[in-house]
């Protein structure tokens, strides 16, 4: 006999949103740190750094996120950490986000006119100060819209953590579906919850993009 889909079942799915949000937040925070490192390495004058960062980006953009999750998940047990969906999901998504954010932010750094950097170099600013006071603040402004856009992709990406057994929104949906066998209700609710998380961000990204386009059209 199946359980019926009722208030408690819906509540179980809705409360699982917190794990999706938490995983997204961890991956975004980790990805932001990694992304800055990758972006700076990509625009560095040191060739090995540049090529290393490029290889990192190519590998993560050229392979499926699902395989990245599997490799980290099973790789952790090889290095003796043991199998833990939490660490695996957070680590894999962090690496994934680092590659994508690194590439996005490289584009933003390069979008800052070269004359800015040259002028500050001529004024005697060292690399650190040039980046910190001249280039990065301008790149940061350009990067807001594509970064918010990527956040949507990242939130959707956390759904794959369900496949390695991490209980977030998608996995909660599967659990309730297996118990109630109400796939239409369950997956409609899950899809609606993802939509509620992602759509405002998409709209915000588009709004920022539009505002930026107006600001740069002269």
């Amino acid at each position: 006999m199946f359980r019926t889909f009722g208030f408690n079942e819906a509540l179980f799915i809705i409360t699982a949103v917190q794990w999706t949000l938490l995983l997204s937040a961890i991956a975004f925070a980790g990805g932001a740190l990694g992304g800055i490192a990758i972006a700076l390495a990509r625009v560095s004058r040191v060739a090995p750094l540049r090529y290393g960062a490029l290889a990192f980006i190519r590998v993560f953009q050229g392979t499926p996120l699902l395989m990245q999750l599997f490799l980290v998940y099973f790789g952790l047990s090889i290095v003796g950490v043991g199998i833990n969906p939490w660490i695996a999901a957070a680590l894999a998504l962090t690496l994934h986000a680092s590659a994508y954010l690194g590439e996005i932010w490289r584009g933003c750094i390069e979008a800052v006119p070269a004359g800015q950097s040259e002028a500050s170099w001529a004024l005697g600013l060292k690399y650190r100060d040039r980046m910190r006071y001249v280039v990065l603040p301008q790149a940061a402004k350009i990067s807001v819209a594509p970064t918010v856009g990527f956040l949507v992709q990242l939130i959707k990406g956390t759904s794959l953590a369900s496949i390695i057994g991490f209980v977030e929104l998608t996995r909660a949906g599967q659990i309730i579906n297996n118990a109630t066998f109400q796939p239409l209700t369950v997956f409609s609710l899950v899809a609606a919850l993802y939509f509620i998380l992602c759509w405002p961000l998409s709209l915000w990204a588009r709004h920022l993009e539009g505002r930026f386009a107006v600001a740069t059209t002269r």
């Binding site: 190519r58 590998v59 050229g62 392979t63 499926p64 996120l65 699902l66 395989m67 990245q68 599997f70 490799l71 099973f74 790789g75 047990s77 090889i78 290095v79 003796g80 949507v152 959707k156 990406g157 759904s159 794959l160 369900s162 496949i163 998608t170 949906g173 599967q174 579906n177 796939p183 239409l184 369950v186 997956f187 409609s188 899950v190 899809a191 993802y194 939509f195 992602c198 759509w199 998409s202």
Partner: protein
């Protein structure tokens, strides 16, 4: 670290991986073709259709772009049977991938249509060209050139996304990995090789597409 790597299961079952890779390629090409059949009318509706149709296309695009592909495929494979629509896993995979890429391709095609300079269309009309000639010589070629790079990177992304169809036990490359893994327990080695195959596929196809693009779009730039 005293782990003994064991690649024998991967080598012994390489025929399964080849078969899975072929299914992945078929799914990707099938989905991009059907996706384009969805995208072109949707883009036309979005640029020139009545407002009700435009609204409908927008709902389709926003829903697809703001929900995970995994949920879309679960919906198609597990939820639609409740409405009497039943697919086997590989067909469900093809349908889900097509519906997904159709939404992204709609925006790409629309951008291509909108990139064609209005003045050129008017100039064509002034020269006495018929509307199908205007479409063929003035709109189509530059629009194709504009959308080609975005479309090919969308294809690569689609191919990588298609690994998710293994979650409903479609028989693609990732699923071949799951099978070998559950039979031999050499999980890391199996997924390492599979990831490498995906990497080779995405590098190979993006190289092929950029070579084809250079040959196909050699005509001078429209200004």
């Amino acid at each position: 670290m005293n782990y003994q790597f064991n690649f024998a299961p991967v080598i012994n079952n390489f025929d399964q991986l080849i078969y899975g890779a072929l299914v992945t390629i078929q799914l990707s090409f099938g989905a991009i073709l059907i996706g384009m059949l969805i995208a072109v009318p949707c883009a036309a509706a979005k640029t020139a259709g009545p407002s009700a149709l435009r609204w409908l296309v927008n709902v389709y695009i926003e829903v697809i772009r703001n929900t995970p592909f995994l949920i879309q495929i679960f919906f198609i494979y597990f939820s639609l049977p409740a409405l009497g629509i039943r697919f086997d896993p590989n067909t469900a995979a093809l349908v889900a991938l097509s519906v997904n890429v159709g939404a992204y391709a709609t925006e790409i095609v629309r951008a291509g249509i909108e990139s064609v300079n209005r003045g050129q269309v008017e100039a064509g009309r002034a020269l006495g060209l018929k509307s199908h000639q205007i479409f063929r010589y003035i709109i189509l070629k530059p629009a194709l050139r504009t959308i080609y790079p975005a479309l090919t990177s969308q294809f690569i992304y689609l191919m990588l996304t298609s690994s998710v169809v293994s979650a409903i036990s479609a028989t693609d490359l990732a699923a071949a990995g799951n099978n070998i893994q559950s039979a031999t327990f050499a999980a890391f080695e199996v997924y390492l090789v599979i990831t490498l195959i995906y990497f080779i596929l995405s590098l190979g196809f993006s190289g092929l597409f950029s070579a084809l693009g250079r040959i196909a779009f050699r005509y001078p730039l429209a200004r």
